[in-house]
Symmetry: C2
Subunit: 415 residues, 2 copies
């Protein structure tokens, strides 16, 4: 079974938004073992949409449309498909009721074009929309499956996962099972070199490395009709990989480094505080993005000037004068004082040169990260490269990885 | 002239990344007045790529490819196109020299497949790659233009802007000139209502509103062969719009609210500090993302617990006990003390409930923002909605907008 995604919307062709719907659906289909061979984007234009449908029908078993189900004149996806399929549009009473009740509840006056949103293609299964008004639909005609989904991602995603996936899962006999391993602190080519023989002889599961922003992931994909057997295949290959590069393996699937550290802190009943110079609030922001962060995160002092470093954070001016703010010594004081002032168990500090210009005559990318745990104070030097954003992000992530290594007693914290 | 974009790469069809290259190129082409009618994504597969090329040739004047120019076996874009066009691949000596010198400089051994990257289609103009090894190319055959670009965005974007756009701009006779107006604090429908008659009678320039994350933009697009006449058309319509909703207009094109505030602070020779609770470092991070932020930004105290609020930031415990941390009174102290402790001219504070759970028995989305300028201390209440991320971002942006309004003496700071 192979699928094609057709996104309908001129805003995509004008570059106002990226086609993130295609990414989401593709990832979901990969997990179901449905091959996606093409993505197409076409504007709000009947003729070009019709022609895209004909091309897709000639090469794909399943066509999934996103966008163009709304109330305005621009929204012409279902009208065009219904004409191509020679099927009428009929009222979906449930959808109409929910539209009517929305307008009743909000006290707004319903304009006539909203009624249009309740129309579905005759013979299709309606996919309810719990986050908007237009329902989706799924219809099978002559061995082809057509799925229509709304364009706004917050409506499309839950509809696809909750209403479309269960219908599709039934069709598949040999589904794929994927697991993503996430690595930090090792480059893609170094990782590939260490796993070369495994990659060269891969069959089931497949092993697909991918370089992401300052990280590398490996997607393992096993094919098996039984879920527990697929899990066993994934466990086996993961164990082989772990034996070689397990120190760098920080998490799975969609986990982020801050989430992993959040869980470690919770597990060990520890708390954390930051002192941030070059990262300027980024490390804190990554932590506080996590719901429940206040359980483990006390606060931070963003000391962007030497004045704030000495007067708010209490770094001795002598240290700043002798070694400069970008120094191992300053990083140590920053870590120690953030820990004690915020009454956390662990203090983590970041000082360095994010660029674009040198600072204190130190090169762009020079970074020191400090870690204090109430007993010991550590400081580690780094030399990062790339843009300002990249250096900041790389610094913040490296700090999080240090905390992970601290709890796992990995280098440089071996016991 | 109409264009089609073909992205080549199985990672796109697996949903590992989104096709942001298509968004970037589409936006650039829109500015050049080149219509984009289709985006296609196809995997690393010769037959399917060949068929996508044939379809594109049947309907588009210009085909722009991204991806598949690298050294590995997967990279087959230029080989496939050269076969479709019946043209040989030849060595681009300049590209080869730069590849050789890269390996010489880094002391790494060049594998033979790297030499492949220096091949270009015979008769094409090579587009130099200053951020990677594989050059791009542009070739015109039988009134069709083919452009090949590398896949990594950090290589593709500068190549497209610096090498491809100048070649394309020559071709266009009646180019489009765009200007994006950026609004904060007004919803899309309210904005449309105020501009309804202008939108209904638009012709040249066109007026296209778009809701972005907690902002609205209006893209004005004028067609004129003369640049200064197009500019006049844009100025005239912008003036009409400004008369009605100018208070909400904070910037242009790619400007962000923090950038606008950064410029205002520099212009007025003022400095800023933050005290962040629910935003947890986000406001600071947005400011320090700007190169040169240290000119205007002193630092901030991320006080995620009441302990840090009282002991580091100096909010009286009596205030915390009487009114709670999520209160106008606390926001005022936070703003005042961040300003004085960090020795800034303006202190801005954020306290509230980001969710997912209530706090201090206050609803999710309850937010207070404080502003202190050394003389006056203000505090403003808000009720935001949506996810945790959205509430945090909306809070940070609203704070920046308050500072903008403060300098511009707009409501609530009218003199």
């Amino acid at each position: 079974m192979n699928a094609e995604l057709i996104a309908v919307g001129s805003e995509l062709l004008l570059g106002q938004i990226a086609n993130t719907n295609a990414q989401f659906i593709s990832e979901q289909l990969a997990q179901l073992g449905i091959n996606v061979f093409y993505h197409t984007v076409v504007g709000d234009n009947k003729e070009r949409l019709s022609s895209a449908i004909k091309i897709a029908e000639s090469r794909s078993d399943m066509i999934i449309f996103t966008g163009g189900l709304g109330p305005t004149k621009d929204d012409l996806t279902k009208e065009t498909i219904s004409r191509e399929l020679g099927r009428k549009l009929v009222v979906d009473q449930e959808a109409l009721n929910s539209i009517l009740s929305f307008f009743e509840k909000t006290g707004r006056v319903m304009t006539e074009n909203n009624r249009k949103q309740a129309l579905i293609i005759e013979g299709s299964t309606s996919l309810p929309n719990h986050h908007g008004m237009a329902p989706g639909m799924l219809i099978e005609i002559k061995n082809k499956t057509y799925i229509l989904l709304p364009g706004p991602p917050n409506e499309m995603k839950p509809m696809f996962v909750n209403a479309a996936v269960p219908l599709l899962a039934k069709v598949q006999t040999n589904p794929l099972h994927s697991r993503v391993l996430r690595f930090f602190g090792i480059g893609e080519s170094a990782l590939e070199t260490k796993l070369m023989d495994l990659i060269d002889t891969q069959s089931n599961p497949t092993i697909a490395p991918l370089a992401k922003e300052s990280e590398v992931t490996i997607r393992l994909t096993a094919t098996h009709e039984k879920k527990d057997m697929a899990k066993q295949l994934l466990d086996d290959i993961e164990e082989k990989i772990s034996l070689r590069v397990g120190d760098y393996l920080y998490g799975y699937d969609e986990q982020s480094l801050p989430e992993v550290v959040f869980c470690l802190l919770k597990k060990h009943q520890k708390t954390m505080a930051f002192a941030e110079s070059l990262t300027g609030g980024l490390a804190s922001q990554l932590m506080t993005d996590i719901p429940g962060a206040s359980e483990v995160f006390k606060g931070s002092i963003v000391s962007y000037t030497n004045e704030v470093k000495s007067e708010v954070l209490g770094v001795p001016t002598q240290i700043l004068e002798t070694y400069g703010a970008v120094s191992a010594e300053c990083a140590k004081y920053m870590a120690k004082n953030s820990q004690s002032k915020c009454k956390a168990t662990i203090g983590l500090s970041f000082t360095g040169v994010a660029g674009p210009d040198k600072s204190e005559n130190k090169e762009v990318g020079t970074v020191f990260i400090g870690l204090a745990d109430g007993q010991n104070v550590y400081s580690f030097p780094y030399q990062f490269s790339g843009t300002r954003s990249r250096i900041r992000l790389q610094s913040a992530k490296t700090g999080y990885d240090l905390v992970r290594r601290y709890f796992r007693q990995l280098s440089p914290f071996e016991k």
